[in-house]
Amino acid sequence: MHHHALYRSMLRIRRIEEALADRYAEQEMRCPMHLCIGQEAIAVGVCAALSASDVMFSNHRAHGHYLAKGGSLNAMVAELYGRSTGCCGGRGGSMHLIDLDVGFMGATPIVAGTVPLAVGAAWAASLKKEKRVSVIFLGDGCFEEGVVHESMNFAALHKLPIVFVCENNEFSVYTHLSERQAKRPIYRIAEAHGLMTQVGNGNDVDEVLTLAKTAVQNAKHGKGPQFMEFSTYRWREHCGPDFDDHLGYRTTQEIEIGLKDCPIAKYEQRLKQSNSLSQADIDKYEVEIREEVIKSFEFALSSPKPTAMDAMERVYA
């Protein structure tokens, strides 16, 4: 059942994002959108290690994190459609997601902008002696921002209950790691800052979950900040609904290997081989998800449209 939950959660994120991609061309979701298709295992594996009271911050590529943590699908889709029922009432769009009910504290698109915020949440938990961890997702590109290092140092100094999850898909937009970083492992820098570190295959949800459980336990038991680096692969274009392989910034082999390493297909195969998952289960999930997705679009499209008057509200608390 646990395996089923992991599988279903990945499949659900995939199908939701595919639906978003399909319908993006209708020009009614009028905001930048960064899909995590291909990277679902990290979000799902990490979130499966968390409790409802644990909190999370994310970045521009937030759908998977938000959904895996339990964020409301309706509120997310409505947000992409710019409706009043969106999780930001339309103010944010795809790059700004929030669902405080499930501890999803916020995602924003300034790269690394939320990293210290997550450390601050961990600090607050520690000061208030609340047994919760704070999780931050960051990309390989994000790791280059100085504020990430400042954040790691502060977290290590105060032994804060925070888990840094680095999703290394080797690209920042169309720029490969090798044009941005010296040849050395990312996680080793975190280690040198005094964080406990783990490295894993981000396209293997079991592995992600195993490492994440260790990290969360360590963080909760006063062992200080944790850093996990996961390799993964972004299937679609950096921003937008399409594939962009025609641009030629990744070789055909690389793309082939990347697409073959599908976290969902691999997991499906593994579960089928061990007879833990049947085609009937899958079919059922597909149907359930399809219905949920359709409903979420209906919800969004039938939701009220905010106005310019609404836009003037809530500048100050």
Partner: protein
């Protein structure tokens, strides 16, 4: 000004051509930015330059805006002439320490012994739900500290000419491009030429009202001016301010001497905008020339919402500007002429894209 070897090209092409010219003429010019050599080439403004000038002069960079700005300052102090690019001006906020504390002051602090010939290109985002963190228009923030030059060219002609001037200038220059200008065409000479970094330009002549406008608002103001002329026979002066840090107040006052009325149109939040500074400077020097209160046309004092429903009235339009002119003149809006004007100014296509062909996202 338009030479034999000129043709209509877009603002983005003009920027690319300016960079190409500068790099060809001066081997000290190097180009760096997140995505500069990538296939999208910063909205095609850097296309082909890595092929032409090689990986020793055209660089991508780590996501480290403050550090890399410092690196470029250090290179500029060491004889290079770097051009740095940020895809959004919002990202330049991460580098404001280096820009304000170092670049702006180095020449002064060190008694003129060294200077920082650095150009930082930044793009102001707008539309397609780019939202609160990707559509700020922060020119005023970079203009309130002496030592930085800040410019906002509007036309393709000026984009090329001012970029060449900026690159040849020995001071740090923030070169601010509005994203909605990138696709607009203008007649641009093939050879290189210079446009000064501290002079406004008259886009439209008239004697009723002075409209001093910045960047994309100059485009909108020109549309308004043409509409006012065509529909109502009202002639206004439109000044494209072009320079932000070194406001060409004299040109505005010259125009106000004729019109007695001033509207300033800006792409920014109203409060603290450079439009406010321009109004202050004009009244400090020449309030007696004004026959009526000056008016500022700008965006409201709240962040840009993402939802296109909410953002619909966020940006001033030609209609906003024309209405400001008419209100200032006490003109009758209950007239056929006015209705014709409104028709003329009606925008073609959705409000949140620069043109009909745009299919999002940026």
């Amino acid at each position: 000004m338009h030479n034999a070897g000129s043709r209509d090209i877009t603002f983005a092409e003009a920027v690319r051509e300016g960079l190409d010219n500068a790099m060809e003429r001066d081997s000290r010019v190097i180009l760096i930015g997140e995505g500069v050599p990538d296939p999208k080439a910063i909205f095609n403004t850097t296309a082909g330059l890595r092929n032409k000038y090689g990986a020793q002069r055209v660089f991508d960079m780590p996501l480290a805006e403050n550090g890399l700005t410092g690196v470029c300052i250090g290179a500029a102090l060491s004889g290079m002439r770097p051009v740095m690019v940020h895809q959004r001006i919002d990202f330049a906020l991460l580098a404001i320490d280096q820009l304000i504390n170092n670049a702006a002051k180095w020449h002064y602090m060190f008694d003129g012994k060294a200077s920082v010939p650095l150009v930082v290109r930044v793009i102001v985002g707008r539309g397609w739900g780019q939202g609160p963190q990707h559509s700020q228009s922060l020119q005023a923030m970079f203009s309130l500290v002496p030592g930085l030059k800040v410019v906002m060219p509007t036309t393709a002609y000026d984009a090329k000419g001012m970029l060449l001037s900026a690159i040849e200038d020995d001071n740090p220059v923030m070169f601010i491009e509005h994203r909605w200008l990138h696709q607009i065409k203008d007649n641009v000479p093939e050879e290189s030429y210079r446009v000064p970094l501290d002079k406004a330009k008259i886009l439209h002549e008239g004697n009723k009202v002075t409209v001093a406008a910045f960047s994309y608002m100059a485009v909108e103001s020109l549309i308004a001016a043409k509409g006012l002329m065509a529909a109502m026979g009202i002639a206004v002066d439109v000044l494209d301010m072009r320079s932000v840090s070194q406001l060409d107040v004299a040109s505005v006052i010259d125009s106000v001497r004729k019109t007695g009325r001033l509207i300033v149109a800006d792409t920014a939040f109203r409060t603290g905008s450079i439009a406010g500074e321009l109004i202050a400077k004009v009244v400090e020097q020449a309030m007696d020339l004004l026959t009526t209160k000056p008016v500022r046309v700008a965006s409201p004092d709240h962040p840009t919402p993402t939802s296109h429903f909410m953002a619909e009235h966020y940006y001033p339009t030609p209609q906003t500007i024309a209405d400001a002119v008419l209100d200032m003149l006490g003109a009758d809006k209950n007239s056929d002429a006015y209705r014709k004007l409104c028709e003329l100014l009606q925008r073609d296509g959705p409000h949140d894209t620069p043109n009909r062909s745009f299919k999002g996202p940026f």
